[in-house]
């Protein structure tokens, strides 16, 4: 599965510009650490998402060129793993855990209440870009079920009202 960078003049050009972009330093470091090998693809996509927050077309093209893997394979990996996102997240995120313990503990009701109050579904961002709603399979914080992560901070023993209150603090509540 080893391939060399592809000879597409357009991509080649872009590649050169992006290689100089300081935001790509962390990504480039990961690529180097992986020995420019195709098996570092997932690590590299992690690095891209860490520095940019999401994977866009350009960055996937860049990664494909740098590692010498086909474009379709990069897209395949980026969409197979749910940790990767191809859309930028809102300013604030709330990730509701839907693991078994949280589900038994009522996380579905929490999720439904958020959907009702914000009008968005999991994976979506509010129109003003302030807030994204996401779901997770399990944080492993089952002891504190039901749990959710507010901007990455896991908080447990929640109820629908307390969660929505936290979200209003970010978005403002027009009631």
């Amino acid at each position: 599965m080893e391939r060399n960078g592809r000879d597409s003049s357009l991509s080649e050009e872009k590649f050169a510009i992006m290689a100089k972009d300081p935001r790509w330093r962390m990504v480039n470091r990961t690529i180097r650490q992986g020995g420019n090998q195709a098996d570092a693809l997932i690590e590299t996509l992690h690095a891209v998402q860490d520095s940019f927050g999401f994977l866009d077309r350009e960055s996937m093209e860049y990664v494909a060129n740098a590692l010498g893997v086909p474009f379709s394979l990069v897209y395949s990996v980026a969409t197979f793993y749910h940790y990767f996102t191809l859309k930028p997240a809102g300013e604030h995120t709330c990730v509701v855990c839907l693991g078994t313990a949280c589900y038994i503990g009522g996380s579905q009701a929490i999720l439904e209440h958020i959907e009702e109050q914000t009008g968005i579904k999991p994976g979506e961002t509010t129109g003003d870009g302030r807030f994204s709603l996401l779901i997770a399979r399990c944080f492993g914080s089952c002891g504190l079920a039901p749990a959710a992560a507010f901007d990455g901070q896991v908080t447990g023993r929640l109820n629908p009202q307390s969660v929505v209150k936290r979200i209003w603090e970010w978005t403002g509540h027009d009631a």
């Binding site: 597409s8 996937m60 086909p70 379709s72």
Partner: protein, 254 residues
């Protein structure tokens, strides 16, 4: 087995490229095979019919459609013949009641996944999925149709991709990667949302990597990939080139 095993002084080495020959039974018939031949290959040599869909001579095995499942005596699970290799004395059944029952159910399930409307399909009458339904004597589908909403990509100047007819056999992905060497095709997402894509999920017509060789179209078992300008029942696939190309590619490598 942690004690008492002694490595033989001299390892018995067989000549390079040679394989053990073994005998086993398919449907109570004695057959002989090389150890590196799949049950499917041996069955075909002996004119024993096993239905297949994702398998295609000339491509690597995918082992995903499960239609070639066979029963092995004393094995709890059914195994796909395309990726299972015989063992000495093995007793294989390709058409037990259990096998036939599962095969029918699997094929019916495949019909529910996408919108296979044979009556208006370019491949009507020349479709492997349709043929399988006839061979397995399927007159209706017991499961509920899922009716997914799927797109059709007509951006390529010569070909059309219709996800409604796709069975995810990934022949297109494999032929593009293994024979053409472009790897334009792959699949995105997972589970029921799995779709074949070109490059970074861009319209096929704007792909920079596609050589428009059309191999993917010819190997596609259904009407998912077809040539433009073909109307209902007019799309006949030609894939006699495949075993030849595979041989030539191997020869190149050696």
């Amino acid at each position: 087995m942690t004690s008492g095993t002694v490595l033989p002084r001299k390892r018995r080495v067989r000549p390079v490229g040679s394989h053990r020959i073994l005998t086993f039974k398919i449907n109570n018939r004695d057959v002989s095979s090389r150890e590196d031949e799949s049950i499917l290959a041996v069955a075909r040599q002996n004119n024993i019919y096993i239905p297949t869909l994702c398998h295609l001579d000339g491509l690597s095995e995918h082992g995903a459609c499960r239609l070639c499942i066979v029963e092995i005596k004393n094995a709890p699970k059914l195994v796909p013949a395309c990726i299972t290799f015989p063992q000495e004395g093995m007793e294989v059944s390709t058409c037990s009641e259990r096998v036939i029952d599962y095969r029918k159910k699997l094929l019916e399930m495949l019909f529910t996944e996408r919108n296979h409307v044979c009556a208006v399909c370019v491949s009507n009458g020349h479709c492997e999925l349709q043929d399988l339904a006839i061979q397995l004597n399927i007159t209706h589908v017991r499961y509920e149709y899922l009716y997914p909403r799927l797109a059709l990509d007509g951006s390529h100047p010569r070909f059309i991709m219709d996800h409604n007819r796709c069975v995810l056999c990934l022949r297109c992905v494999r032929v593009c990667d293994e024979i053409e060497g472009a790897h334009t095709w792959d699949v995105m997402n997972r589970g029921l949302d799995t779709r074949v894509i070109t490059d970074l999920n861009i319209p096929w017509g704007s792909s920079e990597t596609c050589t428009s060789c059309g191999k993917c179209v010819q190997v596609c078992p259904t009407g998912a990939l077809s040539e433009k300008g073909k109307s209902v029942a007019e799309m006949v696939k030609r894939r006699q080139f495949l075993p030849y190309l595979q041989k030539m590619r191997r020869w190149e490598e050696e």
